[in-house]
């Protein structure tokens, strides 16, 4: 692994989270370096979304420490996370269909000129941002409603960059996309890495993970179940870690047999 920085920009140390009787996360460790794409994988209910929501400030953690640039920080509400420089793109993109691309990119952060929305500067910056990310959309003045699913996804990701974040969390960005659109989003993920951002990518799609991620962090039943450098890890090893295939009825039985045979 090549890490640009020695200190991870974001690190979770022994993070636990309970919801009533459910222990959603137990002692989870996660490190994200600048210029690194960390894929967060795991089966449904493994705790991926909960983990992401603790980082994004939606659910404050119960135990453990979140470190930002090596310093412990407390993230209790979404505002805290945004203040640190964490941008989250949720699966339901949450764009305003009736506003154009520029309006959506700057929603809630409009540039003002003498108290009036500065459409010209916003449009100029939006075009620059989209072109540095090689995002192709028909026009920045087109309402979001007329964009395709892939185009909406890249707009949502571009929108997260307006606040100049250091870590971007992408929740299943390719889940609903076609082949070319998926490739476009993966390209975009790489460009985020080129901009020296830390990227946390949640995905169920191993091909995507293998394509762009540097590290794969596996969650299983709310616990870490291994963290692998993508380059040296096979597809099957990751799948095994996700499903816990190394520890199941079959392997247990096989294990019993060998012990019995040894007797």
């Amino acid at each position: 692994m090549v890490h640009v920085s020695a200190t991870p920009v974001l690190a979770l140390r022994g993070v636990s989270k309970r919801f009533g009787a459910v222990q959603a996360l137990t002692d989870v460790e996660l490190e994200v370096h600048a210029g690194e794409v960390v894929a967060l994988v795991g089966d449904n209910g493994a705790g991926k979304s909960t983990l992401v929501k603790t980082i994004a400030g939606v659910h404050p953690i119960d135990e453990g420490v979140i470190e930002w640039d090596g310093n412990p920080v407390s993230i209790n509400k979404p505002h805290d996370a945004q203040g640190l420089g964490v941008a989250t793109v949720y699966q339901d993109l949450a764009l305003c269909d009736n506003l154009d691309v520029v309006g959506n990119l700057y929603l809630g952060r409009e540039l003002l000129r003498r108290g009036v929305i500065d459409e010209v500067s916003m449009e100029k910056n939006a075009r620059e941002l989209l072109s540095t990310l090689s995002i192709r959309i028909p026009s920045v003045r087109i309402p979001i409603a007329s964009l395709s699913g892939g185009q909406r996804q890249v707009v949502a990701i571009a929108r997260s960059l307006i606040g100049d974040p250091k870590v971007v969390i992408l929740d299943e960005p390719t889940a609903a996309l076609g082949v070319e659109q998926t490739a476009q989003v993966l390209d975009l993920v790489e460009r985020l890495r080129d901009r020296n951002l830390g990227v946390i990518l949640i995905s169920h799609n191993m091909a995507d993970v293998k394509a762009v991620a540097d590290t794969v962090a596996v969650l299983r039943l709310g616990k870490n179940n291994g963290s692998f450098p993508v380059k040296d890890t096979s597809h099957e090893e990751i799948i095994a870690a996700i499903t816990g295939a190394t520890e199941n009825a079959v392997t247990r039985r096989a294990g019993r047999r060998t012990t019995e045979a040894a007797k």
Partner: protein, 445 residues
């Protein structure tokens, strides 16, 4: 992996690095993605000049973006029919009447545009306007208050009533339709109670806001030049604004409207406003009520399109979740929007008081509410939220008031008037729904 990230890192500034990164990691992508460009090859680029304008127009109509087209078609049809029935309809005097009487209901429609932009409805504006005229009359006549102070208090009452509706809607979660239906009945009841047994309070119309909004009150005391000053002001500000924007956009290197298009737009406005000014001058001039209505339209249009607040209103109407995630205080926007609706209802009530110089039992009653809603929707503001413009209040009221006035000229019964108004409202909503459907089909909604 390290190879890839190094390669990309080393020459990430150039396009080449991006291409390399794609080739190593995402071979599925097509090579056309490589050039750094924002323009999609499928983009329908508008041709320069008038021809481009025409093709764009055709495309929009096909895609269901009707804009104000139904209004212009409707106006032509309505004016033709009534003119054939009664040749006094298009006389200067009658058109002047239409322009005066449309401003009161038009005020209610401005407030409704705000509420409709949220995708909600305010059924109480008629009752609130009636209540406002009564409250004003009670302040001025019963308590002998200064009429301007009474005006301010009346408007504050309207804001308070609207904000109360908004609070029930935004904080308690009662559907806006039910809250304002309760308001529709409740505030009407309060008005009847305030008016008591007499049923009418006459307001002296020799001074104050009632005199200003009266039927005999005209801009610059009917001076011929007054109407042309207004028209010139409107045209000049549009020209200055458009060319200023074109200059800034050109300097910033973003697409701008070609000069020919700006000239066309300014020219159209100039023809419309100077013809209107000439016609009104042929009668008695521009009524002050109309001037105030137009001024409100300009201010509100600016607020909606150019200020962060207006952008927030559109955002909440377009997607509540998106608005919330963007840090917009959705309940606050809802409460203020209903407050604005209440404010314009109260101002509209003052216009009604100005028309009759009194507060009466049937002020703001009858089909006032329906007319205001119909005006906003006919003008092109969608009932489904997020789409519309405050100018629909003016355009829609032109249609509605023309129908009202024409039916009056023909001495139609109230029963017929109600039926026709109902049909017009239904027609407007049908156009809205159908155009939304075709917008969806054309990928625009």
């Amino acid at each position: 992996m390290s190879d890839t990230s190094k390669t990309v890192k080393d020459d990430s500034a150039g396009t080449e690095g991006v291409v390399k990164g794609q080739k190593t990691v995402a071979p599925a992508d097509d090579p056309t993605a490589a050039p750094v460009t924002v323009v999609d090859p499928r983009l329908l680029i508008r041709e320069e000049g008038l021809k481009g304008y025409l093709t764009e127009f055709k495309r929009k109509i096909k895609g269901g973006e009707l804009g104000s087209l139904p209004v212009f078609v409707g106006l032509i049809v309505i004016w033709t029919i009534f003119q054939l029935q009664n040749d006094r309809f298009l006389s200067a005097g009658n058109l002047s009447d239409i322009s005066y009487f449309l401003s009161a209901t038009g005020m209610l429609a401005i407030g409704l545009v705000f509420v409709l932009l949220l995708g909600e409805i305010d059924l109480s504006v008629g009752s609130v306007s009636g209540l406002a005229s009564t409250v004003f009359a009670v302040f001025v006549v019963t308590h002998g208050m200064n009429s301007w102070l009474a005006l301010i208090l009346t408007i504050i009452t309207g804001i308070g009533i609207g904000a109360l509706h908004g609070w029930f809607f935004a904080k308690i979660g009662v559907p806006a339709f039910v809250v304002t239906l309760a308001g529709f009945l409740g505030w009407n009841g309060l008005m009847l109670w305030l008016l008591g047994s007499s049923g009418t309070i006459n307001i002296p119309d020799d001074k104050g806001p009632v005199q200003l909004l009266g039927q005999g009150s005209f801009f610059m005391d009917q001076a011929i030049v007054g109407a042309y000053i207004l028209a010139g002001l409107g045209v000049a500000s549009m020209a200055v604004g458009s060319f200023g924007e074109q200059r800034r956009r050109r300097a910033a290197g973003v697409p701008y409207r070609p000069t020919s298009e700006i000239l066309l737009r300014v020219g159209a406005l100039a023809v419309a406003s100077f013809v209107a000014a000439a016609v009104l001058n042929n009668a008695r001039g521009v009524s002050n009520a109309l001037v105030i209505f137009l001024a409100c339209l300009v201010i509100v249009d600016f607020v909606l399109r150019r200020t962060p607040y207006g952008r927030k209103v559109f955002a909440v109407g377009g997607g509540i979740e998106a608005a919330r995630r963007a840090g917009i205080n959705v309940p606050l926007i809802r409460i203020t929007v209903f407050g604005i609706s209440g404010m314009f209802a109260a101002i509209g009530g003052m216009f009604f008081a100005g028309q009759t110089a009194s507060a009466t039992l049937n002020a703001g009653g009858g089909n006032t509410l329906m007319l205001a809603i119909a005006a906003a929707v006919i003008g092109g503001t969608s009932l489904f939220g997020g789409r519309g413009s405050v100018w629909s209040a003016l355009l829609g009221m032109l249609v509605i008031q023309s129908i009202q006035n024409g039916l009056d000229l023909l001495n139609m019964n109230t029963s017929i008037q109600y039926m026709i108004t109902g049909a017009v409202l239904l027609g407007a909503v049908v156009i809205d729904s159908v155009s939304r459907k075709s917008q969806k089909a054309a990928g625009r909604a």
